[in-house]
């Protein structure tokens, strides 16, 4: 940068000398030598400037890259509660807009500051060498330019914010309309809606033009002020030249210096803006880094392999003020099975979330193999658990990768087939264009709710976990397929621990123990038959579901028979009522 600045101030001197030489009359050779000198310095300047610019801007890109990586790395350690609190949109805004502002501060901001300062120093020194008077004159006028820029710039900033506010209003209006389009159409409100959008739109345009009036002032004003500086030099310098204090060459040389620093002087205002915005964004990024994960690895982690015994002792848990679990205790031996039922909002999901430490309870303890879960490394703990969440989330990658998401190694075909068989996914996969290599998501196939859930089950099973948790994971699967999945899962889970949250009795009836939750409390517990005998809440649920099943039954039989015919498999040949009875665990 310094070198570029030093090199930059040389060519005008050559030009001044050329003009002077020409003025007094000279040989062409002298002119050529001087011109060549000028060009070589210009070349040297261009190279150094290009090089230093590349170095700094590139460094800023590298910083952007590092910060982006660090942010993701940091966010990955944050607990689930953090993501429920922070909106993804806001996080994304910080990771895009704010990161850009910071990068510009480090890149363009520093390049401009450094080059402006250097250039200013060396140019002014050179200017003084030509004429002190003209230098003082220039230095009086130039700050007017940056000053004007700064003052107008502040007003522009204000107007810009007003424009942004209107942009927000316009977005809100559009969003409201699109979200409420049903009502708009039902009441034939299209025309009034268009009128009211036109109003916000018009106000936006008005503000944009308003801003343009102020913004449009800047460059003409700058050009005017710089022009005046050149004129002042010509006029005052011209008088000096006429009086013989200055040569014409020196005058031209001086004007060359002026044009050299004109742009950097103006840019000073711009630089201030870049630094202001960059700093504000840096603060917003720092906020992300400052957030601490409330669920973290322990200092001295135990390294014993997990067998799968799960125990909760006096656990209470709340989101903020809202208590969702009250004094929950239970124990599932390794290889045992537990089912949890209860109404929506009774705390079932929150309960199972505590086991892989998506949250930590405020009171009580969660043990695995008799050791507090907080004493395991998070990775070791979660590696031992296969989890199928209530809301299925799949990634936009091929199906194979989605299924193998939690496996330490890429899945072998045999493992893939097996996971697909247990989750009853294989039949669907046959219909996909590229089988297990099929891309999932917007750019690939869109899966149905049931297919998504079964993929999620395959994903959890493929991990070969010690503990399997299904959080209402069969809700979008039809009852027939559900029975098939459960039958296969039972053999898979023979020596593993399973915890199943469900609404359907058919899903839970075979569990060793069933918990009935209500408003965060365990209100009933026992095996299926024990609970039926109690004639309580569970028995009531059971009765209702029997009725529901009766409603479904005709359709079920049709579907089932169609399926059997299509596959040309005569598996059981049982009539519908028998299937129903079997599924509900009734013996004749």
């Amino acid at each position: 940068m310094t070198m570029a600045a030093v090199l930059a101030v040389v060519p005008p001197r050559f030009i001044g000398q050329i003009v002077d030489a020409l003025n007094v009359g000279t040989e062409l050779g002298v002119v050529i030598v001087l011109a060549l000198g000028s060009v070589s310095f210009a070349a040297a300047e261009a190279i150094t400037r290009g090089f230093s610019r590349y170095q700094i801007i590139n460094a800023s890109r590298r910083i952007e890259y590092e910060v982006r990586n660090d942010l993701l790395g940091h966010l990955q350690t944050m607990h689930l509660g953090y993501f429920q609190h922070q909106r993804i949109g806001d996080l994304m805004a910080r990771l895009t807009n704010d990161l850009t502002a910071v990068r510009q501060m480090y890149g363009f901001g520093i390049v401009m500051t450094a080059s402006t300062m250097m250039l200013l120093v060396f140019t002014v020194i050179s200017m003084i060498g030509v004429s002190l008077k003209l230098t003082v004159l220039t230095l009086l006028l130039m700050p007017v330019a940056s000053g004007t820029f700064w003052i107008v710039g502040r007003k522009v900033h204000h107007k810009f914010q007003e424009l942004q506010a209107q942009f927000g209003a316009m977005s809100t209006k559009a969003q409201e309309n699109f979200s409420g389009i049903r009502v708009v159409k039902a009441f034939s409100q299209e025309e009034p809606e268009i009128r009211s959008f036109a109003e916000v739109n018009a106000e936006y345009v008005r503000r944009a033009v308003d801003l343009a009036k102020l913004n449009g002032l800047i460059w003409p004003a700058m050009a005017f002020i710089m022009g005046i500086a050149v004129l002042a030099t010509l006029y005052v310098g011209g008088r000096d030249a006429i009086e013989g204090h200055l040569t014409i060459g020196q005058l031209v040389q001086f004007i060359a210096y002026q044009s050299l620093i004109a742009w950097p002087m103006i840019a000073l205002g711009e630089i201030t803006n870049i630094f202001q915005q960059g700093w504000a964004s840096l603060v917003r990024l720092q906020e992300l880094f400052d957030a601490r994960a409330s669920v973290a690895d322990p200092e001295d982690a135990v390294e014993t392999p997990i067998r799968g015994e799960v125990e909760l002792r006096g656990v209470s848990f709340a989101y903020g003020q809202a208590i969702v679990l009250r004094d929950i205790s239970f124990k599932v031996p390794a290889g045992g099975s537990l089912a949890i039922v209860g109404a929506t909002g009774s705390g079932k999901s929150s309960l199972v979330n505590l086991i892989p430490r998506l949250f930590d309870p405020q009171q009580g303890d969660v043990f695995i193999d008799g050791i507090d879960v907080r004493r395991y490394r998070l990775e070791a703990l979660r590696r031992a658990i296969g989890y199928v969440p209530q809301e299925t989330f799949l990634f936009s990658v091929p199906l194979r990768e989605n299924v193998g998401f939690g496996a330490a190694e890429p899945l072998t075909d045999a493992q893939l087939q097996w996971a697909g068989d247990v989750s009853q996914l294989n039949k669907d996969v046959e219909d996909f264009p590229a089988r297990f290599e099929t891309m999932i998501g917007e750019r690939g196939v869109t899966l149905s709710g049931g297919q998504k859930q079964r993929t999620a089950i395959a994903r959890a099973v493929a991990k070969d976990p010690r503990i399997l948790i299904l959080d209402d994971a069969l809700s979008s699967v039809d009852t027939y397929t559900e029975a098939e999945i459960l039958r296969r899962l039972r053999s898979v889970m023979r020596d593993r621990t399973s915890i199943v949250v469900a609404h359907r009795i058919s899903t839970v009836k075979d569990a060793d123990e069933i918990l009935v939750l209500d408003d965060g409390r365990i209100v009933e517990r026992g095996s299926h038959s024990e609970l039926l005998l109690r004639r309580g809440r569970y028995a009531q649920m059971y009765r209702r579901q029997l009725l529901e099943e009766e409603l479904e039954v005709d359709e079920e039989r049709d579907q089932h028979e169609k399926r059997v015919r299509a596959e040309r498999e005569v598996e059981s040949g049982g009539s519908a009522p028998r299937i129903l009875r079997e599924r509900l665990g009734l013996q004749d």
Binding site: P11, I18, L22, N23, E27, A35, A42, E45, A46, R49, G50, I57, Y65, L72, Q76, L80, M92, T172, A174, Q175, N177, F178, S179, R182, V183, K185, A186, F187, S188, Q189, P192, A198, N201, V205, A212, P220, A221, A223, F224, G227, V230, L231, Y235, G238, R239, I242, G244, I248, L251, I255, P356, P389, T392, F393, G406, K452, R459, R544, L547, L551
Partner: protein, 611 residues
């Protein structure tokens, strides 16, 4: 459902990259400038004047040196005369400078306002177009995506119209003016200067290719980074549960690194492009001085002219230095315009007939004639449904979840068209009427009462100014909404926010009732969703209001309350998209069929739970 596959909505279609220039899109974009022909003409004129005045100062500088300073120094004219000429030329300089600045300012404001107004038109056209697309379109397109089109994409186009296109014209004019003036000042020197043009063309052509590839690579890779980031953040709990942090990070690092490399390419291109142009400028001026010096020595050129050439050179090179930025703006705008126009070209699947049937007087008879309907074939939601509801009759539709009840409501409002069969209103196929006409006679109370930002009153009358304050109050009183409205701080003028967060669910429902009744439709469709969060007092008000709503007009209600189904004239039972039973509450119970089981299951259990 509705979950998973993160990424959605954030950077969709960003892989539409846009060439910097696409004749078809450009022509279409320019058509939006047509209404502003005169302003565009004026702006071009101003541009011309601006370019012209901009190149005058170097010429005056020439005269200052040639006609004032040099003769005075050499003694050809007296010093005083030199000073006087200096002063005169100085004044001329200021005037020209002021004019140039004025033109520039005027032109700036004018072009921005043309761009903004043209894009105002486009934005409004897009909004209007969206208003008339069918609901199926909104089912498929997330709100976020539509928002991006109507805000950010249109902004990119405005940017292009007011900065890109105009600047290109301005640059061309400036280049042209500079060339003309050079020719006027000295033909030989001018032609010599023009020798640099092929060099410049060569340099720009070389870098344009590089920049185009870089910008394109950056755009694709940035989209990938952000899509991945968005998806990972959305699915963070899965990443953590499946201990995929390291693998996810490694993958992200790869994408991030690719983006960095693409940026690096662009930085390298830019850091070579600008210095090479600057160097060319320096070389040109050196050449100028050598040649000019030769001619000065020969006495064929003045120092002033040479200085003027040198100053003009600056103006000659500036537009070329800005080229990269222009290019980027154009490229982004082309991608945006492609997306916007694609949306504009989406055909409405439900359209008004060319010769619509006008109903003089609507009695309110609704008939389904062999109706089959699917949102996505072949997942049939309704299968061959037949029923007639006579004018003034009240009917409840019951069935388990997914039986197709809601679809019936949507179809009568003609939110969707049926695939097979017909729906008739007073014997006229809905498709033979204007949608407006249909919806004027059919009122709907939706499951999720949508509250618009505005006041309580504006939410009842919506934007229909024909509904008087008196009618608004009457409607509110009629559906028992007046009690809670009167208790609000500003009454009917109380401001309610988007999604109605200041109102309770029950209050929102009452407001939706008032809205429906204010429009006084002949046919009333009600989606009566049982809401657990309604207190008993409000629940009583809602039930009472529902009875009043249905009285004296054809009404179809998706009932979840026992009180509602007990009070209707007839009940239609849907099961898996088929009409299975129909009759009065008492008759259907006696049949001991589907309705009986449904009743046991839903309504009785509901009543028991409430008791």
């Amino acid at each position: 459902m509705g979950h998973g596959h993160g990424g959605g909505g954030f950077v969709q279609d960003d892989e539409i990259l846009g060439k910097a220039y696409d004749a078809r899109l450009t022509r279409r974009l320019i058509s939006y400038l047509k209404p502003y022909r005169r302003e565009v003409g004026l702006a071009v004129g101003l541009l011309f004047l601006m370019s012209a005045t901009q190149i005058v100062p170097p010429i005056i500088a020439k005269f200052i040196i040639d006609s004032a300073i040099t003769p005075a120094v050499s003694g050809a004219i007296p010093q005083a005369e030199g000073f006087a000429r200096l002063a005169m030329l100085g004044i001329a300089y200021v005037i020209v400078l002021a004019l140039a600045s004025g033109f520039r300012f005027w032109q700036n404001v004018l072009t921005t306002s043309i761009g903004q107004r043209a894009m105002y038109d486009l934005r409004l056209q897009l909004f209007r177009h969206l208003q008339y697309l069918s609901l199926g379109f909104f089912d498929r397109n997330p709100v976020g995506r539509l928002m991006t089109r109507i805000t950010n994409d249109i902004d990119a186009l405005t940017e292009m119209v007011s900065r890109g296109v105009v600047s290109i014209f301005g640059d061309l004019f400036t280049l042209l003016a500079v060339m003309v003036v050079m020719l006027l000042l000295d033909v030989r020197l001018a032609l010599l200067t023009f020798l640099v043009i092929p060099v410049l063309v060569g340099i720009t052509a070389f870098f344009r290719g590089m920049m185009r590839d870089s910008f394109r690579a950056i755009r694709i890779r940035l989209a990938r980074v952000n899509t991945y980031l968005n998806e990972t953040l959305s699915g963070m709990s899965i990443v953590q549960l499946f201990t995929r942090e390291r693998a996810t990070f490694a993958q992200f690092d790869g994408l991030n690194e690719e983006l960095y490399q693409a940026n690096r390419g662009a930085v390298r291109a830019m850091s070579t492009f600008q210095p090479s142009i600057m160097f060319t400028r320096a070389a040109t001026s050196a050449m100028l001085f050598v040649a000019g010096g030769y001619w000065i020595i020969q006495g064929e050129l003045t120092i002033g002219t040479l200085s003027a050439f040198w100053l003009l050179l600056e103006q000659f090179f500036r537009p070329i230095l800005d080229l990269a930025e222009r290019y980027n703006i154009l490229q982004a705008a082309m991608a945006s315009s492609e997306r916007v126009f694609t949306l504009l070209d989406t055909k409405a699947t439900i359209e008004d007939p060319p010769h619509p049937v006008e109903l003089e007087h609507v009695r309110g008879e609704v008939r389904f004639d062999g109706v089959s309907f699917a949102y996505n074939e072949p997942d049939w939601v309704l299968r061959d449904v037949d029923f007639t509801i006579s004018a003034g009759e009240s009917v409840a539709i019951v069935g388990a979840t997914g039986a197709g009840k809601t679809s019936i409501i949507s179809l009568i409002s003609r939110f969707y068209d049926v695939q097979r069969g017909r729906i008739l209103l007073d014997g006229v196929d809905l498709r033979e009427m204007r949608q407006r006409e249909v919806r004027r006679h059919v009122g709907v109370v939706l499951q999720d009462p949508f509250i618009f930002a505005g006041t309580v009153a504006s939410n009842i009358r919506l934007n229909d100014t024909a509904i008087t304050d008196e009618q608004v109050r009457w409607a509110a009183r009629f559906v028992n909404a007046d009690t809670f409205i009167d208790r609000l701080p500003e009454g009917y003028e109380t401001v309610v926010t988007e999604r109605g967060s200041t109102l309770s669910v029950g209050q929102k429902q009452l407001l939706a009732f008032a809205r429906a009744i204010a429009f006084n439709p002949e046919i009333m469709l009600v989606l009566d969703e049982a809401t657990s969060s309604v207190d008993t007092e409000t629940e009583r008000l809602i039930q009472d209001a529902l009875q009043k709503l249905m009285r004296g007009r054809t009404s179809i209600v998706i009932a979840h309350r026992l009180s509602t189904i007990q009070n209707v004239d007839r009940i239609i039972v849907l099961h898996k998209g088929r009409l299975v039973e129909s009759g009065s509450h008492r008759d259907l119970l006696a049949q001991r069929g589907v309705y009986h089981r449904l009743y046991e299951l839903q309504y009785r259990a509901h009543e028991v739970a409430q008791a």
